[in-house]
């Protein structure tokens, strides 16, 4: 029994797209000095210049290299969602989530800043943090937990600082009976850790926007925000791909089944496992 999602992007084009875009777009922007396209600040850009298009673009490129790395890792781990939903539905959900987060975040920022004119909402997170947080709900909701483990800490602040005479076995035994602080982690702790890092690294804006985005995810999944069942990207975008995947999928299934059938028959013939090139090379010298 394995806990690993199959590695690689082969069957996950949506994940591949997001992963590559997360890395390539900031790189290109940096190289071509278009980084300013992905930056939103309330004070000069929105209030003074009315550049509302920045709300649309800010999720496409992260400004920090650490954010780029974290986002890329998270997107890679999110291939489990694509595995569950299928590429087409996953892309549709991503687009839906992007629309909701953009609308709600920018809308609430604009409204807040109109109501409170001293610009309470100045900063926005960079990169696809809101989108990722929305999808994080889907990840947690539909990925079952396979195992869990626990850290147990004794609570030090409840104890007197032990003097020399106190350090005896009986003392510590009596201490261990006291309340302890347990920290339970599951097999998904890696992605949780990445998400926490991402949110914390972007400061207060990251925490607030992350939380709002997560709520959007919950509401979307619960059906309070409409669109999960109805919204799909127009099929003509994928029509050529679809046929390809159709054929490939069929051929692959057939091939797999036919080879698996014959693989067993050949098993008796060559019991010796195939040697790798390096092995062959070394074996010639071993004599």
């Amino acid at each position: 029994m394995s806990t690993e999602v199959p590695a690689g992007f082969n069957k996950y084009p949506a994940t591949q797209l997001c992963f590559v875009a997360t890395i390539v777009v900031p790189l290109l922007a940096n190289a071509l000095s278009y980084k300013y396209l992905f930056m939103v600040r309330n004070d000069p850009f929105i209030i003074e210049y009315n550049q509302y298009w920045r709300f649309v673009t800010f999720q496409f490129g992260a400004l920090n290299e650490s954010d780029v790395v974290l986002l890329a890792l998270i997107w890679y781990n999110f291939r489990q969602i694509e595995r569950l939903m299928g590429s087409y539905k996953y892309l549709s959900v991503i687009s839906l989530c992007w629309m909701y987060t953009t609308l709600i975040l920018s809308g609430s920022a604009v409204i807040l800043n109109v109501v409170f004119p001293w610009s309470v909402w100045q900063n926005f997170p960079s990169g696809s943090l809101p989108l990722v947080l929305t999808l994080f709900h889907f990840y947690k909701q539909y990925t079952p937990q396979i195992y869990e483990f626990e850290f147990v800490f004794p609570l030090p602040w409840q104890l007197q600082p032990p003097t020399d005479s106190d350090i005896t076995g009986s003392q510590y035994q009596s201490l261990s009976g006291k309340k302890t602080f347990k920290w339970k982690l599951t097999d998904q702790f890696y992605i949780e850790f990445l998400i926490v890092l991402l949110v914390l690294s972007q400061g207060f804006a990251g925490i607030v926007c992350g939380f709002i985005s997560w709520i959007i995810g919950v509401l979307l999944d619960g059906g309070l925000l409409p669109g999960m069942k109805v919204w799909r990207l127009p099929l003509f975008l994928f029509s050529s791909d679809n046929i390809q995947t159709h054929n490939v999928n069929d051929i692959r299934n057939q091939l797999q089944n036919s080879t698996e059938g014959t693989a067993d028959a050949n098993e008796n013939l060559d019991d010796v496992p195939p040697r790798s090139l390096g092995r062959q090379f070394i074996d010639t010298f071993r004599g």
Partner: protein, 442 residues
């Protein structure tokens, strides 16, 4: 030197209770001989000063080491207190946890899965389309469905165990509730007539699970399934390990039941062979068990026989020894027999009648016990044996041997047994004369 100077100035104007007090004392008391003891003093001073310096250094190191630990202690304390204060936010943390806890029970989850599958599979559609779709999921798999006896309602390891034990195919279907057309496999594969026929023909076990359930996901991961849903078929190889012989994953465009049928047909021959091997192994095991038990039985019998033989031989040896001793005793006893007295005054005259009808008349000394007559009779019975040995050797009574006469002597009329220990002269029935009958004891 500087250190020593420092020390000297400090000692001269200080009465500190610092370590090295004895040097100070020597300074005050032995002031006169101080110059002469200069070397000693210097050495003392060095020792003293270095210990003081060491003490200060120790303190500094102690504080330096303590400081970060104290800072760390309070930082961690504050952190943990903050975490404690964040307790209301644990709702966020445990938001998904409760839901996942529910999934640990496989049986409940299976019932839920069946309900959703019944709901998802579209009976109207499948009934309406063509003749192939004459079944619904409900009529096939749940309750008293046609294939409900084929549905295995256990965990995956249990399924593997059953398959290995009974040498059966296992069909795995792992449902994905998140897909757009989630009932595709159900309607297009699981509820078709060909599939049902195949299942009944090859006696497959069907196992259902859910990709959002822990067990299902583990199976999917172990088969490295890249797209959902998943339909797989497991068979056994020669060493009774389960292998995947057929897999179908991802969106279904066309499904050819013949591929699965061919796979199953091909593997079924192997499976039958495996069943036979398994039966053979079982049969051989039973035969071996029987052989073992029989062998043990005969071995036991042999051992018993051997034991009896040994016992018999031992008895023979003991008997032989006894016979030898008896012979020795008889020889010795004969040698002790007194010769027949000539006079008739101090003797009794008895007629001894043996069992074979022969008769001996002999005189015995009256002062002897009747035992003498017993010994005489015994000697005359065994006369032939005794005569075959030479009587040259020195005769002694054998050790650890008590002779039992194999006969009794009795008077004829009235019949009375004669006691070997009484003296002849005290026995009226034979003294001065009488008849004695020898009676063998059986």
């Amino acid at each position: 030197m500087n250190l020593i100077n420092n020390f000297l100035t400090s000692t001269s104007n200080s009465d500190s209770p610092m370590p090295g007090l004895f040097v100070e004392n020597s300074n005050t008391t032995n002031d006169a001989v101080r110059d002469s003891n200069d070397i000693d003093d210097q050495s003392n001073a060095i020792v003293n000063d270095s210990s003081r310096n060491h003490n200060i250094g120790y303190r500094i190191i102690k504080y330096l080491l303590k400081l970060p630990v104290i800072i760390m202690y309070f930082t961690i304390n504050i952190l943990l207190v903050l975490i404690q204060l964040m307790k209301p936010f644990r709702i966020l943390y445990t938001y998904y946890h409760k839901q996942h806890q529910k999934q640990f029970n496989y049986q409940d989850n299976l019932d839920m899965l069946f309900n959703t599958l019944v709901k998802d599979s579209d009976p109207m559609k499948s009934a309406a389309e063509d003749e192939d779709h004459i079944y619904t999921f409900e009529s096939l798999y749940s309750g008293n469905g046609i294939l409900s006896s084929h549905v295995f309602k256990g965990t995956y390891p249990e399924l593997l165990n059953i398959c290995t034990e009974q040498c059966k195919f296992a069909i795995l279907y792992i449902h994905d509730p998140l897909l757009d057309d989630k009932a595709q496999y159900i309607n297009d594969i699981l509820c078709t007539e060909q599939f049902v026929n195949m299942m009944r023909k090859y006696q497959c076990l069907i196992w259902f699970s859910d990709s959002t359930h822990s067990e299902g996901l583990q199976v999917l991961n172990s088969f490295k399934v890249e797209r959902f849903p998943y339909l797989g078929c497991l068979s056994l190889n020669e060493s009774f390990n389960s292998i995947s012989i057929y897999r179908l994953e991802g969106r279904l465009y066309t499904w050819d039941p013949n591929v699965l049928n061919n796979c199953l047909a091909k593997e079924y021959q192997k499976l039958i062979k495996l069943r036979q091997t398994k039966q053979n192994i079982e049969l051989q095991r039973i035969i071996k068990l029987q052989q073992d038990s029989r062998y043990n039985l005969s071995l036991q019998r042999d051992q018993e026989r051997e034991r009896l033989r040994r016992q018999e031989r031992d008895l023979q040896i003991v008997e032989q020894v006894r016979q030898n001793k008896k012979l020795q005793w008889l020889k010795w006893k004969r040698s002790t027999l007194l010769s027949e007295p000539s006079d008739s005054i101090n003797s009794c005259r008895v007629a001894i009648r043996f069992e074979d009808g022969s008769r001996i008349v002999r005189r015995f000394d009256k002062t002897l016990p009747i035992d003498e007559i017993y010994a005489f009779v015994d000697a005359s019975i065994n006369e032939e044996i005794l005569n075959s040995y030479t009587s040259d050797e020195i005769l002694e009574p054998p050790n650890d041997y008590e002779h039992q006469y194999p006969f009794i002597l009795a008077t004829s009329v009235p019949r009375r047994q004669l006691n070997p220990s009484t003296l002849i002269e005290n026995e009226n029935s034979i003294y001065p004369s009488g008849n004695i009958i020898v009676e063998q004891i059986n």
